[in-house]
Amino acid sequence: MKKVKTVFKYIFLIILTLLFLFPLIYMLIGSLMPNEEIVSMLDFSKETYKSIKLIPDAFTLDQFYQVFFRRAQYLLKFWNSVIITFPTVIGQVVVSSLAAFAFAKLRFPFRDKLFFVYIVLLILPLQVTLVPNYIVLDNLKLLNSFLSVILPGTFSAFGICLLRQCIKYIPDASIEAARIDGASYFRIFTGIILPQIRGGLITLTLLCFIDSWNAVEQPLIYFSDRSMYPLSIGLADIGNSDYGIIFACGVMFMIPPLLIYLYGERDIESPFTTSDKL
C-alpha cells in the first residue's frame, strides 16, 4: 500500500515537472526543425487543429545559421538587450545592497517610516511610473538613449526588501565585534555583510536580469529610434512566415538567463532557508 502511494507520488511529480518544463523542451525542438515543418505546424490560417509535434521529421541548424550569420538585425537586437541589462543589474545590486544594509543593521531616526516610503514608491507598477518618468527624462534630455531605461531600472523595492531580509539573519554580535576592533561601517559592509549574503545577491542578480531582459514597455516608449529596440520587442515583430527564426531567436534569447540560473541554482534557495544561519 505504502509502495503504491510512493509510485503515484512520483508519477504525479514527473507530470508536474513536465508541465513546467514543456515550453523549454518545445522551443529547443522547434528551433531544430526545418522552417517548412514549423510553418505547416503553426499555420493558423488553415482550418485544421494543431497538434503538438515533439519529434521532428528532419533535423537542421539552418535557423541558427540564419540568425547568427545571415540576418544581423537579430544579433544587433540581442546586443541592445545586453547593453540595457548589464548596467541595470550591476547598478541595482550595488544600490540595493547599500540601502538594505542601512535598513537592516544601522539605527537612525525614522528608519521604519523611511523604509515604508521606499517600499511603497518602488513597488508602484511600471505603467504608473512610466508617464511621470517620461516627463523627467525629457527634461534631463535622456530620452532616446539607453540611459533612459537603465537609470530608472536601477532602483527596485524587491532588491532592498530581499537583501534586508538576508542581512537581518546575520548576528549583530559579529558586526559589533568588528566595530570594536575599529572597522569602519564600510569595512563591515564589504568584509562581513557581503560575503554572507551571496545567495541573496545571486537571487537578486537573476531576477533583476530576467526583469530587465524582458523589458518591453520602457524601450517602446522612451526610444524613438527603432534600431535601439532590444530583442524582447524584436521577437514580437518577426513576421508570421518566419516561425523558424522566432524559435531560434527565442532559444538564443533565453540562453543568458538560463546560464545565470544554472550558475546560481544552488544559492538561490539559501537566502530563504534560515536554519543554517541562526
Binding site: L98, R107, V120, L121, V131, V136, C161, Q165, V216, P257
Partner: protein, 283 residues
C-alpha cells in the same frame, strides 16, 4: 563624536545613492504628475479630470478587470504554490532538479513563449483540437471571458516556481518537534497543516503575498505579447488604459489615472504593513 551620530551619518551615506534615485525618478515625477492632473490645457480644473475618469467607460472597464484579476489570481497563485510546496516537502529526499524545474517558467523570457501559448490556445490550437475531439464546442480563448482564465493560468504557471521555493524553505524551517508532538496529540494531517504549518510560516506567507502583488502588475507583458495594444474587453487592464492614453498623449487624463492607481496600491500596502507591524511578521 558620539556613536549614535556616527551611525546616523553612516546610514545617510549608505542611503544616498538609492535616495537620489527615488527623488529623481519617483518623488519629483509624482509631484509633476499630480499637478498636471489638476489642469486641462492651461486652465486649472481641480478634480474634474478624476471625476470624468470614473464616468469613462474604458476606465471603469479596465478598473473592473484589474480588480477581478487581482482578487482571483493572487490567492490562486498562493494556494497552488503552497500545495505544491507541501507536496514536495512530503518527499523524504528529493533531487534538487525537481525544485529547480519549477523556476524554468520565470527564466524563459516572455517573448520566447508567445508561440507556445498560441499553439495551445488559438482557435485552432491544440486545446481546442482536444476539446472538439470530445464533441464539445470549441472555446475562443482570444475572444471571450476565457481570455481572462488564460491570463490567470499563465500568471500562476509562470510565478508558481519562485513562490514554491519560498514556501518549501519556510516549511523546512518548522522544527520537526512541533509536528511530532502534534501528531502524538492525535492531530490528523489536515490539522497539522492548518494549525501548525500555516501559523508557523506567516512571515513567508506575507513575503509571498508581496511578491505575488509585484508580479501581478507585470502580467501586462503577457497581455501585450498575446493581444497587442487593444485586447478584448475581458482582459483590458488598467495598464492597457494607461498605455493607450499615452499614445494619444492625453496627459491630464493619464496623470489622473496614474494617481488613482497609485493611491489604490498604497492603500493595500498600508493595510499590509499595519498588519505586519502588529504581528511583526517580517522580523
Amino acid at each position: 563624536m558620539t556613536r549614535k551620530r556616527r551611525e546616523c551619518i553612516a546610514a545617510a551615506l549608505f542611503l544616498i545613492p538609492s535616495f537620489a534615485g527615488i527623488l529623481v525618478f519617483y518623488i519629483i515625477p509624482y509631484i509633476i504628475c499630480f499637478v498636471q492632473s489638476l489642469f486641462i490645457g492651461d486652465s486649472f480644473v481641480g478634480f474634474s479630470n478624476y471625476i470624468s475618469l470614473f464616468s469613462n467607460y474604458t476606465f471603469t472597464l479596465a478598473l473592473k478587470n484589474t480588480v477581478i484579476f487581482t482578487v482571483t489570481a493572487i490567492p490562486l497563485l498562493m494556494v497552488v504554490s503552497f500545495l505544491i510546496a507541501l507536496f514536495l516537502n512530503s518527499f523524504k529526499r528529493l533531487n534538487s532538479f525537481f525544485r529547480s524545474a519549477f523556476l524554468i517558467p520565470v527564466v524563459i523570457p516572455v517573448a520566447s513563449l508567445i508561440v507556445v501559448w498560441q499553439v495551445f490556445f488559438e482557435d485552432y490550437g491544440a486545446i481546442n483540437g482536444f476539446i472538439t475531439s470530445l464533441g464539445l464546442p470549441k472555446i475562443e480563448f482570444f475572444d471571450s471571458w476565457f481570455s481572462m482564465l488564460m491570463i490567470i493560468f499563465i500568471y500562476v504557471w509562470k510565478h508558481c516556481g519562485f513562490c514554491v521555493i519560498l514556501f518549501t524553505a519556510g516549511l523546512a524551517n518548522i522544527p520537526e518537534a512541533y509536528i511530532e508532538s502534534a501528531r502524538l496529540d492525535g492531530a490528523g494531517p489536515l490539522k497539522i497543516v492548518t494549525r501548525i504549518k500555516i501559523p508557523n510560516i506567516t512571515p513567508t506567507i506575507f513575503f509571498v503575498f508581496l511578491m505575488a502583488m509585484i508580479y501581478s502588475f507585470k502580467i501586462y507583458r503577457e497581455v501585450f505579447a498575446l493581444f497587442g495594444d487593444y485586447p478584448n474587453e475581458h482582459v483590458y487592464f488598467l495598464q492597457n488604459f494607461v498605455n493607450n492614453n499615452y499614445y494619444n498623449l492625453n496627459y491630464p487624463r493619464l496623470s489622473a489615472a496614474s494617481i488613482i492607481l497609485s493611491v489604490f496600491i498604497v492603500a493595500v500596502l498600508f493595510v499590509f504593513f499595519m498588519l505586519e507591524r502588529k504581528r511583526n511578521y517580517l522580523e
